[in-house]
């Protein structure tokens, strides 16, 4: 058990500790009751609670950058050379099972990339988990104190979690629904995924700025589906301060953390534990419905239901703007655009990074699903900024 800070000392707000915190960071000098941030904040980010954890985490972030650049490049070059020699580089129709039989699957560099990418991530998760669970009482008390605080609201609906949401996506311990610190883990874990480029919610702020508005300019209510730790929801509330902004997520600990963080930031976004496909909001309630990397984490069937639900809760002229990885177009599966090595990599992400529903997501065309739900669809909508891509699909609810 980690014992690097004593809650009673922190909560007692000793002058010595408070001044030490103020002197080692650029945090606010005040230390609200039950606010656990022993090392203060850097901008929007509460620093990890110990120097050792922060340093360990930054190493694994740098390691991930190296894996995703140099090592990945080396592995891809070796796989491509083997495919070229074997005449496979354009074998886009090769079934996955057949692709796995080829020589690149035994290549030491290809396999080393697969191993270290996954296991460095696993180390990262468990370092974080050890810290939050090691100080269980302090972090739980912090969330409990925020549950009923404002300016925004928190609505918990425990027991709604369907089986498809119970996987440890990205091998996050407990997944989104099974660990009381799922929000904490997701926030700091994805900072590692973003290779240090999102410590200040930079990507979410940029995406919020790119979310298109209805033609009539009226934005009274916004829904962010599958909001995880609430970064996009908060950024949307900051862009539209007069609007009522809701973030929903199936994970109770996720919305709880989102709310606590919004309270801490003084942002009046609201959070509800709810399914995106069954949000419980009234018909025609929202002007904008958006989501960020939600759909590849749900089944294809649920994507269809979420798209229908989005149509239901939007008012006529309202905008639907789901941000996610590219899907196929015109009924064409994304799987069919991958060479054999890419297919096996995609499978490894699905199987071993537990992107449980990624393969299903690759089989759909979200634009087609949106048309089916009744939207007027623009496949060349404004770029979201996600993944360096250009156009993002958007839908408008017809009058």
């Amino acid at each position: 058990m980690s014992n690097h800070f004593n809650r009673r000392t922190v909560m007692g707000g000793t002058a010595g500790l408070a001044s030490a915190i103020a002197s080692i960071s650029n945090a606010d000098a005040k230390l609200p009751k039950n606010d656990v941030e022993p090392r203060g904040k850097t901008g929007k980010l509460e620093r990890l609670p110990t120097l050792d954890l922060e340093a360990n985490d930054e190493f694994l972030t740098s390691f991930r950058i190296w894996v995703n650049s140099d090592l990945n490049r080396a592995a891809t070059q070796r796989a491509e050379a083997i495919m070229k020699a074997d005449g496979l580089d354009k074998a886009f129709d090769m079934p996955l099972a057949e692709a796995f039989k080829h020589r690149f699957n035994d290549d030491p560099v290809v396999q080393m990339r697969a191993h270290v990418w996954l296991h460095a991530q696993n180390l990262m998760w468990h370092n974080l988990k050890r810290e939050f669970h090691g100080n269980y009482d302090a972090y739980m008390a912090e969330m409990e104190a925020a549950d009923n605080a404002g300016p925004g609201k928190l609505e918990m609906n425990p027991g709604i979690e369907p089986a498809y949401t119970k996987h440890e996506i990205h091998i996050q311990p407990g997944g989104y629904v099974g660990d009381p610190f799922a929000g904490h883990l997701y926030h700091y874990g994805t900072n590692n995924f973003y290779s240090g480029r999102n410590y200040q919610d930079d990507l979410h702020v940029a995406m919020a700025a790119n979310v298109p508005t209805p033609k009539d300019g009226k934005v009274l209510r916004i829904l962010d589906q599958g909001c995880s730790c609430g970064q996009l929801t908060v950024a949307l509330k900051q862009r539209f301060p007069d609007a009522e902004v809701w973030g929903i997520d199936v994970g109770g600990p996720m919305v709880r953390y989102s709310h606590m963080r919004a309270v801490d930031m003084g942002v009046g976004a609201n959070f509800r534990q709810a399914l995106a496909e069954d949000s419980k909001f009234p018909d025609g309630h929202f002007d904008i419905v958006t989501s960020y990397i939600l759909h590849h984490e749900v089944t294809a069937e649920v994507t269809r239901k979420i798209t229908e639900e989005s149509h239901r809760v939007l008012r006529a002229g309202g905008v639907y703007y789901p941000i996610d990885f590219r899907t196929g177009t015109g009924g064409r599966s994304l799987q069919r655009e991958m060479n054999p090595y890419e297919k096996t990599r995609n499978y490894a992400s699905h199987r071993w990074n537990h992107e449980r529903w990624l393969m299903q997501y690759n089989t759909i065309s979200h634009a087609d699903e949106m048309k089916r739900a009744g939207f007027e669809v623009n496949e060349n909508g404004p770029a979201s900024g996600f993944g360096g891509r250009g156009a993002n699909v958007m839908g408008t609810k017809k009058a």
């Binding site: 340093a55 190493f59 694994l60 390691f63 030491p108 191993h115 425990p158 119970k166 629904v177 600990p253």
Partner: protein, 113 residues
Amino acid sequence: MAETKGKRQEYTTDFIKADIGNVSFLGNVHIDNIMTALIAMGAEIWTDRRRIRVLESLLEKKGVTRDMVEQYVPTAEEEATWKKEREVLVDRMYGQFARQGSEFNISSDWKNK
């Protein structure tokens, strides 16, 4: 229904555990494990180095500059002690490279009974 721990409401539910403990990418699970340990070691090295950097910065504010650290000349006694420590470290880390045993495998009997 949401789970509780003691009197605390956790708002969690049961989940389906990932099974990455069962996969080997490198042909031998021990090689996989050694690679993972190497990554963890790298993280530990950086963690210590980062703390040293903090200490250097704090010391500098107290008048002990990095240049003073660079220029420091150990006493003869320190030199001798550190040399011994270094040799122990080298042996501890690399001693196994001198091991030549490949004569036996797991089912081998004693050579000289």
